[in-house]
Each structure stands twice: as structure tokens, then as C-alpha cells.
Symmetry: C2
Subunit: 197 residues, 2 copies
């Protein structure tokens, strides 16, 4: 592959695209410590990416090489085949305007993954209110034994990537996350690449 094949999502933006079964989606953190929220819908049927199903089948909350991301109706959507970062989150919903207001008392518009994902799905005729818990690539979320959720600095370094094989035809949306607290205080781009399997 060459750099010319790589698409860049600017900081605090999102992109939507089709993925055909067998293609590989590579998501790259070009500068390090930057989260990318991923969501997907089956092409042409009601299936959508389900955190709860995926965690249930994996028997764990941290998914990496060899693990499968499932749809709500239990079909494989993605298989992770490469992962140089090793830590991603599948518990939390995309940051949203309301989240910045509730958790951080932000005033005025704040770019958010929820808005960016909704905008990214819109040209494909997909209602953004169907977006559920996202697969938050490079996001570092720990759960302590008492159940407390701790959002840490992403462990991803510049150039780290994850490769996901598409197990069905899908519409996918991906962001460069807009939340200060998830990205060690700065907003960076996310790169991605679709490779034919």
C-alpha cells in the first residue's frame, strides 16, 4: 500500500463509506493518543453493530486480534486481524453535545462524535438515532473491581493501527474523536485505508 491510498479524517470530523465483505478496514492513529469512534450498519437489512452481543460472545470487554464484532442479530460484522495498539473500548457511547454539557458544563456548540457519525450516515439514508454504543478504537477505558470506569490516555503511539476484516457488506462511519478527556487534551486526525482482501 502507499500513502496515496490513505484517507485522512481531520480533527473532530467524521467520514462515512461502504465496506464490502472481505475488504479490510485499517484505522491508523497517525500522531498517537487519538481515539476513533466506529459504528456500522448492515447494507440492506436492519442489522447494526452491537457492543452487548460482541462482549457476550467474546466473554471479555477488551477486543483485539482474533475477536469478532457482532451485529444485534448475532452475525459477524468485523474480525480484528491486526492490532498494534491493543486497547480499545466498547462500553461507552460517542461523545455528544449533551455529554459535554452534562459532564463538563460546556457552553455553546462543541464538535462531537455523535453529531459527526450522524452526518456521516446521512448520505446513506441511515437514521443517526439508530447509532448505539460505538467501538471506540484506541480509547483506553478501564473497569476496576468495584465497577468504576476510568478513562485513561490512549496507549496508541504514532503509526499504531488496527485491521478489521468486513464479514458482510456494510455502511461504516468513523470519526477523529472530539472529546478532550479521551485524547489526552488535544485533537488529532485519524487515517484510514480500505484494502481488498
Amino acid at each position: 500500500m502507499t500513502d496515496s491510498m490513505t484517507a485522512r479524517i481531520p480533527p473532530q470530523h467524521g467520514r462515512g463509506f461502504m465496506l464490502r465483505r472481505g475488504q479490510i478496514l485499517r484505522v491508523i492513529d497517525p500522531e498517537g493518543e487519538q481515539v476513533a469512534d466506529l459504528f456500522a450498519f448492515a447494507a440492506g437489512d436492519p442489522g447494526w453493530l452491537s457492543s452487548g452481543r460482541s462482549i457476550d460472545y467474546a466473554g471479555k470487554i477488551f477486543l483485539t486480534i482474533g475477536d469478532v464484532l457482532y451485529s444485534d442479530d448475532s452475525r459477524p460484522m468485523f474480525t480484528i486481524v491486526a492490532d498494534t495498539a491493543g486497547r480499545h473500548d466498547f462500553l461507552l457511547t460517542p461523545c455528544s453535545q449533551e455529554m459535554f454539557e452534562i459532564l463538563y458544563r460546556h457552553e455553546g456548540h462543541h464538535p462531537s462524535c455523535w453529531e459527526n457519525l450522524q452526518l456521516a450516515f446521512e448520505p446513506f439514508g441511515i437514521d443517526g438515532r439508530r447509532i448505539g454504543t460505538t467501538f471506540n478504537i484506541f480509547m483506553n477505558v478501564a473497569v476496576d473491581p468495584a465497577g468504576e470506569v476510568i478513562v485513561g490516555v490512549p496507549s496508541s503511539k504514532a503509526g499504531d493501527h488496527i485491521d478489521l476484516v468486513a464479514e458482510m457488506d456494510m455502511v461504516v462511519a468513523l470519526t477523529a474523536c472530539s472529546a478532550e478527556n479521551s485524547n489526552n487534551g488535544s485533537f488529532k486526525p485519524i487515517d484510514y485505508l480500505v484494502l481488498d482482501g
Copy 2:
């Protein structure tokens, strides 16, 4: 309140009902060690119960007295005001036919919460494919430091209950869970009661 006000959900069944803002939903485990899956949609708008938002705002995965269950668009749906069991799950999706086949190699039809919730929402004109991660009342799911998910025996004893105040008008569905592994091997009823606040 009297026993005559209590509705009983038979083992491996579900029920759907309206809940008005201010009413209290009491869910009771009459025999002990029985899970009840709960899901809800806002009445008259696209809002739905969101595990990811609720966990994010609570900062923890185990919700109990004082905690709020949020919609996907960050509005409070329920506040927990009483909880004699103390442990519930908000990570896993309702058991489904496919889950029994994938995890337990079950052959033939198996009653499931996913089917029962879909049937329960149907009379209200709600598409069951919009059901996300359920609030799994009395379900005992632990996460170890490595992220492994362990489904244990429910800690609820006969008569344990949880009270949830409705923070908006909603359509709610509730089950007596159908999964052997979540209910210590036997299927029991679930009782519920709607109290005017």
C-alpha cells in the same frame, strides 16, 4: 400496596406496558436468583434506553440507588430509588435464539428475552430490532481486571426488589429471563408493580 396490584410474568415470558412520568416501576424477584431484562423507549419520540450513555454518566458499570438510566440523547429515563438486591448488569444484550445456538450449541427453538421483548413491544408499534443492550435486573456479571466477563449466580433472594422512577413517559418491556446460565439453572417468574408517585 397489596398483592392484588402485582402482575406476574411467567417463567421465560415477557410483558410490555406504558409508564407515565412520575410513576414507580417495582420489579420483584419472588423466588430468588431470577433475572429480568428491561428495555424502554420514549413515548412519541425516537429516544431509547442507552447502556453506553448511562455508564458514561454514572462513571461505573454497576448502577444502584441514586443512579440514573439515560436515553441515547442524554435524557434521564429512570432513577433507581430502592434496590434490595444491589447487583444488576448493563453490559450484555438479551439472550436470543442465536445466542443459545452460538454459546451453548442448542438445537431447536429456545425461549429468549430478545424474542419476548420484541413480542412485548409489537402491540405498541415499536420495531423490536431497535432493542439495544438491556438493563438486566438481578443479573450478576463481573468484569475482572483483565476485562474477562464472568456471569455468576444472581445475588437476589426471594422478595428482593428494585424501584425505578420514570423520568418521562415511556413504553417499557420486561422479561423473566430464559437463559439457564444467568438464573442458576432454573426458570422462575418475575413480579412487577406500577405505583403512582
